[in-house]
Each structure stands twice: as structure tokens, then as C-alpha cells.
Amino acid sequence: MAYPYVSDREVRLLSRSFGDPKGRRLDTYVERGGYQALTEAFGMGPDAVIDEVKASGLRGRGGAGFPAGVKWSFMPKEPTRPHYLLCNADESEPGTFKDRELIRWDPHQLIEGVLIAAYAVRAKQAYIYCRGEFFETTQVLAKALEDAYAGGYVGKDILGSGVDIDITVHLGGGAYICGEETALMNSLEGRRGQPRVKPPFPAAVGAFGMPTTVNNVETLSAVPHIVVNGGAWYRQWGTEKSTGTKLFCVSGHVNKPGNYELPLGFPLMDLIEDVCGGMKNGKALKAVIPGGSSVPILTAAECKGVNLDYESVQAAGSMLGCASVIIMDEDTHIVKQVRRMVDFYAHESCGQCTPCREGTAWLAKVLRRIEDGMGAEEDLDTLLGMSRQMTGTTICVLSDSAAAPVVSSIQKFKDEYLALIRRGERAGVA
């Protein structure tokens, strides 16, 4: 069966092997020009690699969108202690499924990216931290890594260059919060997966107390292409500030949900109407969550004219995040959707900070009550009040993420809340 998630408008750079079972093999990868970037990087020296990535404008694909080259340049230039490179493959954001596909279809692309990044930040040891539920994915990656070791691409004296880099694949225990970089480090070290207080930042005190860089799978997968073709080449796609291509994970009420690699700045409506084949059953669009469950919701009206790049989505009042586009049609029960998301955050809160530990659970309870028709109008003020006190008050942004959809949905879909509350009042349940 042909890989179904394709479109003419895609730029298949990172996703070129999607749907091709041969793509994950070392020989195929090398045949298609794989591991050339590695040799080239070793020839350039670490600083030149960092400069090239800076020149490309590549931004972190994990959600924050921080320029990757700049992040690498924070690492000490003369290592006095071991450095570590961590690849964050703990892809857990609801609606996101790009890293899993990148690893499943093209593991060597990631391994090469990890090697180049490790070389650039002067790390001799890299870890790929996989989400606990990614069992098959991790097996594919482990097999690829074994082949790469056997082929001399990883380990001691890589390809005779004198560079030593080891890669370890680590399967997590299955907690959303371990996708947060400092919680990931704690988990990797064998501690509870709880975010750490910053500062100190990972580039100074990271995994095992050593300087550490953490990059997303998609970021690292883009690195070999940039090293081979140059930073300027990568800028041919995207906008001035959001360069290159990006995998968009589209889910929800469209005819062809899936992973699509598109240049950044791609129009949102084109993504829905053209790439994804339009709304399912011809229903009207109601709302879009453009960047994974932790970003504010956009109404159908707000979606008009929005381009999918970091700046444009922010201007529309949301965030591009990790580009997990969740499409909701007119029949969608917004309060229920929000409650489902908040339930997720309440379940996944690490329990460290009080506003998050108690707040997420309370949000979920109040939303459930409203959904069951037992809410009151004051509950909306309570929800907004506690959301305010959950935003910016905690170590990491999980509680901000839980509060964001609540606030934006009350602002934009207050009628739906009120309808539920009134229906309950009429029925005499409240």
C-alpha cells in the first residue's frame, strides 16, 4: 500500500523515506548520500558546523523554536568536563506524531544528526531518550544504531577521523513531563522525572551535572541536510525568521489527516483545504489548535490568513509549538475537548509545584462538573482566576499549558460554557 500521507505541495526533505521500508536500512541510507554530512562536518571543525547551522536559521522543532545554532554556541568551547548531547525523542504532546515517524522511517538520518550535533558541542557521549510507549520505534532505532556501530559510523575513531562519539538509546518510563529537558535529564539519571529549577541552564549544569545540549528529533534530523547543502540553501524555504521545512502533524476532522512536510509560512487554510483534502463530510470548520494541546485555540474566523510560521501564528494569538495541528469541525463539543486536554495535564503533572499539582486537578474537576450540567456562572470566573495563578508561577510550563486552552476557550467559546450551565439550571441539577 502506498504511503497515504502525501501531497504535491510538500517539500520532502526530512520525510523523503516515509513509506519506503528500505529507507531505514544502512545500505540504502548510504546509497542515497547518507553519512556524507558527517565526513564533511569533521572536515569543517565544530565551530564551522555551529556557524553553518546558525546561518541556516534552523529553529528548535520541539516547540519553543529557539535557534539551534545559538543553543549549541552556549556550550563551553574548551571542554574541561564531559559534555553530553541529548536527543529528545520523548514525543508526548497530544496531537504530535512526527518524531516517531522520523525515527521509524529514517533512523540513520537522526543518528547522523546526533553525531554532527555531538561533534559540534564537543560531546563524546550522546543519548537518545525515547518515549516509553515507543517500543517498536525504539527497536528500529536500536537496530539502526547497531548497524551504524558495525559500519564504523559511531563509536571510537569514526570513519578514521579520530573523533569518538558514543550513542546510547534510552527508553523512558512513559511520562509526558520527561519531554521537558531538565525532567528528561533527571529521568535519564534514574531520578524522578521532575523539571529542575533554571538557572543553572543545561549548557552549564545539565545531565549528570555536566554541560549538556538537548535537541528535538526533527531538529537533529535536519542538521545533516544543512551541513551538506549549506545554511543558505536551507533558507530557500520558509520565511525570514522561520526558515526551512517543518513536519505538520494534522489530526481531527479532515479527510486526509497525517504528517506533511511543508515549508514554514504555509497558509493554514491551504493545509486544511488542499493538503488535507478539506473538512470531513463537508462540515464547517469551528476551531484549530495549531501547535499541540498546550497552545491557545484559534476560532475559524481567526484561522483566515494565518500562515504557519512562528511569528504569524503568534500574531494570531496562539503558538506554532511543535506544529501539531488539531482541526475541529462544527459538531465539536469544545468544553469536552478542553476537559479532555486538562484531564491529560492533571494526569501528567509531575506533582512538584503546588499551582500545577493542585490546579490542574481542580481545573479538570470544575470542567467535568460544567460538562455534566452542574456548573454555575461563577465557575467561569474561578476557572479564569486559577488559570491566572497557574500561569508563570511554576518551574516548567506544564501548568501554563493546562491553563492556556481553558482561558482561550472561555474567551472564545463562552456561549458553549453558558449553554451547558443553563441547560443544567433548567433541568434543576445545579
Partner: protein
Amino acid sequence: MADTPNTVTLTIDGQQVTVPKGTTLLKAAKQAGQAVPHYCYHEGLSSPAMCRLCLVEVEGAPKPMPSCVTQATNGQVVKTQSPLALDMRTGVLEFYALNHPLDCPICDMSGECFFQDYIHAEGRDHGRSVEPKRVFGRDDFGGDVLFYGDRCVMCTRCVRFMNEMEQDSRLTVVERGNRSVIDTFFDHGLEGTHWHGNIVDLCPVGALVSKDFLYKARAWDLAHTPSICPSCSQGCNIELHTRDNLVQRVKPRQNLEVNGWWMCDHGRLSYEWINHGHRLEAPLVRDGGAARATGWKDALVALLDRAGAAAGKGIRAVASPFASNEDLAAFAALVKELGGGSIVYRSARADAEVPLKGYPGLARRKDLSPNASGAELLGMTRVGGDDARGGLESVAKHDGIVLVLGDALLDQTADFGRNAALYAYFGARGGAATEAAHLVLPITTFAEQEGTFINFQGRVQRFWPALSGPGAARPAWFALGALVAQLTSTDVIRSAADAFARMAQQVPAFAGLTYDDLGTRGAVVSETAPLSGD
């Protein structure tokens, strides 16, 4: 403090403060007179900045900052009482209140609870939550600790104490989100650890309570008296919490030179002997027949009369390392004035020290008495075994003067001192070995009098009277001092401070020290002085 390269100056609530570099905002605020509420932060432990109660507004910072880990910088403008800071704290307190039970009337912590304090000061006047509360119930953590899960505020001080100080990870946080709870591993509780009582002190609410203290007293009925732990030669600074003239519990008192914030479970729970009855309440005089209660004056006159008759046969005296320096010095002075003789003491020793690994210098010492150092310093000799028994054979059969201070003589028979021309016993309780005593004189314990002990480091530390002594019991220095005054025709000593001053004149190691100098922190005696204990 003037501005130097090692200090920073910042503004807290409109007030300029200069603090050493590296000082946290929480400490700087304290210096400026603002107590910022906090749960997870404790001076003696690491700071995870997770309770989010100490958030303050820092001008220019995008978010409120946790003051327990944010370092003060030059020119910073910090607001602990601004509308934003208050809003954050009120919010966090409301989150705590969601699941906190309203069981203050039956909670041991009530009255000294930081949740009560903070909620009363800055909490909302009524809660907005109508959802059912989460219920965890109770758990026996083993040792002296009971856990009331519903009251827990998840500050993890207890977990960090066990990890960082006791270095025995028996406590942990299990589960996550609002299902997270403190727990032990399977059936391995806190039994066998030696410092776990401190987690009860650390708990800012009533989640961890002492089984020993459970339902014994309300916090507001307790009087707190600074004292010194008498259970070993470490000399941990403690507070005796008393009610109805009984010690209800013992709590550590901060002294960074000695015990930090901590004390061991052995010391914490070894206070029952102080409360025991069966005390000597009046001086007893025995002239051949049965003992007869009398007044102090008659008893002391009788003692001097007999001593005069027994003169020349030598003195053999037994002192106790549980007696204060003042008592021991007065005892030594009496022995000297009656013609001189040997003074011995007995002290129990444990096989090994029990250190608190995370706090160097703090351990339950081998020497299980509080003032063996004082006894050594005053020229007394240790005899007997490590169980504080034996070693008194020559005293028991002595036919001259036998004097005993404090030692309960539990291993001795009714024949002890039977041959003596004068046998005077100064003690808190009588026993078989006092049956032959010509005089049995009631003295107070350390908890009932003022005085000083010297710990294993040579630190002289004061303790204060927490209880009133029974009947006519008096501090030993008072009775002994009166005898010495009579023999030397000097003024009677009327206070413990005078007794200490008199000792400081006579014993070089104490030279120059006064009660005022010692204060509540103590001072080290002259370093050349011989000390006991380790």
C-alpha cells in the same frame, strides 16, 4: 554594611538592604524585616523551589521569582507585598486548601502550624472549591512517625532530610500530579534509623506527627524552655516543652556549632526519667534507727557535726556526669574543705557513634552523659564499666567520709557506706544503696535548675529551669555551697550565675567566662583543659 565587592545592595519593599553576594532574596527579605512565607525551603536542606509560596515580584523579571533560590543582585527592586505577590500567594494557598482537611481540632500541629498561620494571614476568607476532597488516609511510617496524608503539603522536606542528612532513602514521593504522596518502600519503614524524629520537626503542617506526642498536649499549652540534651556528650541544644510540670516532648534548638537544627531520636525520646515520680522531697536524717524528715538547716548542721567527728579518716566521693558544672564544682569544693579526698564518677559508653552523615560534627556520641567533660575538668576520675556499673568497691566499704552526688548507685547493695563515719547522699531518688546513709538530701535534676554542661568539644552551654523541683529539693550547688560557705566563713552563693562565677575564679579553664557571655549558644572553655568524651 558598606558596599564592597563581596556585597550587593538591593531594594526590598522600598527598603535598601546590603547583603553578602550569593544571598537569596528570601534571606535578604528577612534582613529587611519581611518574612516571606515558604514550605519547601529549609536552611539546612537543598532548595527545590517547588512550593511556589515564596514567589516575589522582581522588577524587570517576566515572571514572579522564587525567593528561596533567586540570588540578590545589585540594584534589584523586589516587592514581597505588592498586589501581584499577594495575589500569587493567595492563589497558592487556595490550591493547598483544596484538599487540606479541616481537622485542626484534632491535629497535633494546630497552634504551631504554618498552614494555619499563612491562611489566616493571606488566604482567602472563603474557599471557592465545591469539589470533594482527595483522601489519602493515614500510614504508620515506623519508628516514632505517623503520616496523615491528607494534611501533607508535599514540600518534601522529610524526603530531602532522609536523603541528604540521614542519607538513607527510605522516604520517597510516589505517584505524580495531585495523586503524589510521601511513602516508604514496601514494608521497610523508618525503624532502625536514628534521626527520623527530625522529619516531624521539619513538617510545616501536621502530616508527620510523633507517636510519642500524639494527643498529649496542645501546642499553645506548652511552655518552651531552652536546655541541653542530657543523653550524650554531643550537647545538642534543645527545648523542653512542658505542661503540668511534666516534660511533654523535646525539640531541637538551632545551634550551628553543635547540632544545626537536628537531634537524634535517642535524645528526643529519652526524657521520661525526668518526669518519673518517687522523688526525694525532704532531707532525711538517720541516727541509728529509722530515717526522719527534717529541714535543710538541721540536715546540713547534722552533716557538718558528723563530718567533724569523722575528720582524719579521709573522704571518698562519687559524683555524677549528669550534674552541672556548678554542682560538681561545689561538690569538689566541699570535699576539699572537709580535708580532701578522691572523687570518682561513672559514665555509660555506647559501642559506637551514630553520626548524622549529612551534618559533619553531629553524632550521638559514645559517651552517654552530658557532662563527663565537666567532671574531668574538675579533677574527677572515671571508674567502673561501660555500663556505668561497678568500680565503687573501695568507696562502699570506706570507714571515713562517703559523699555521693547524683549517682543513683543502682548496682550497689544496702551495705553501701555501712562502715562510714559519715555517709551523705545528694540525689533525686532514694534506693537500696541509700539505706545506710546518715543524710539523704533531695536535689533537683537539670530540668529543674539553671546550670551548665560541657560537651565533648569543650563547649560550655547553659540550660534553664523548665520544671519546679519536688518538695524541698534544691539545686546541689545551693546546698553544697551553703556547706562550703559555713566551713570557709564566706558568703552563701544565691544564684547559679554566682556559683558559675565562683567556679570561674577557682578553675582556670573557666577563667573570664560569665553566664552572660555564654548566652544561648555557649562558649568553648580554655583549650588546654583536659576533656573527656568523644
